[in-house]
Subunit: 128 residues, 2 copies
């Protein structure tokens, strides 16, 4: 209850006291090593695609073999529409691709790295 008239910015960035390790020069060095905005976005987008149980299940199933939408919806015990929407999501981020045979559409993984990332993460969670 002490600030009522000031617009409250980042409270005075003048300089970090000695307690806080980073001098402006140090921070500059760190900043220069940081990823650029577009890499950041792409990384986040990539991880976000894996950050949902339904999509993890889809990837997990497709890791085993190519599957059609119907079978996926049976395997996940979910409505066809929900599965289809998530497959589109995964297709938009290039994680899966599709192959059409008549009325049926088969989905499969479209990326060699997914398996690696997936397994590293799985092992990590197991040995935690």
């Amino acid at each position: 209850m002490e600030k009522l008239e000031q617009p409250v910015e980042q409270p005075s960035l003048e300089e970090c006291e000695e307690t806080c390790g980073g001098t402006e020069a140090d921070l500059k060095a760190i900043r220069s090593q940081m990823l650029d905005e577009s890499s950041i976005s792409e990384m986040a987008e990539w991880f976000r695609a894996l950050g949902d149980p339904t999509r993890v299940k889809l990837i997990g199933a497709l890791l085993q073999q190519e599957l059609c939408v119907h079978d996926l919806s049976v395997l996940l015990d979910m409505g066809q529409s929900a599965v289809s929407h998530q497959l589109r999501y995964l297709r938009n981020v290039r994680m899966v691709k599709r192959r059409k045979v008549g009325k049926t559409v088969y989905y499969s993984l479209d990326d060699a790295h997914i398996s690696e990332i997936f397994h590293v993460t799985y092992e990590h969670l197991k040995h935690k």
Copy 2:
């Protein structure tokens, strides 16, 4: 406009026509290889934690060195509160830990695998 009186379940799962590769037996085999629900949740939670630009930046910075909240908020050019909230998030999923020195709190990575996953993903996105 053909179904008006039925409650519209998964439209008749009786069996997949021959077009759809999976017979019930095949699906059973695949299902037995799928991850259990709790592993699924943990994987999704883990990835979701990395699925946000702010958190990617935080991890990226901490990948370089331990940093205090203030420095992180300068580096990311974000309010202290937002950074603090996200650090709590990352702490809850055990991705970062903190060390207190006087008024200052230093954050650092709390997981050996993050670096690996992070780099695999970064390389993947670069060579796409």
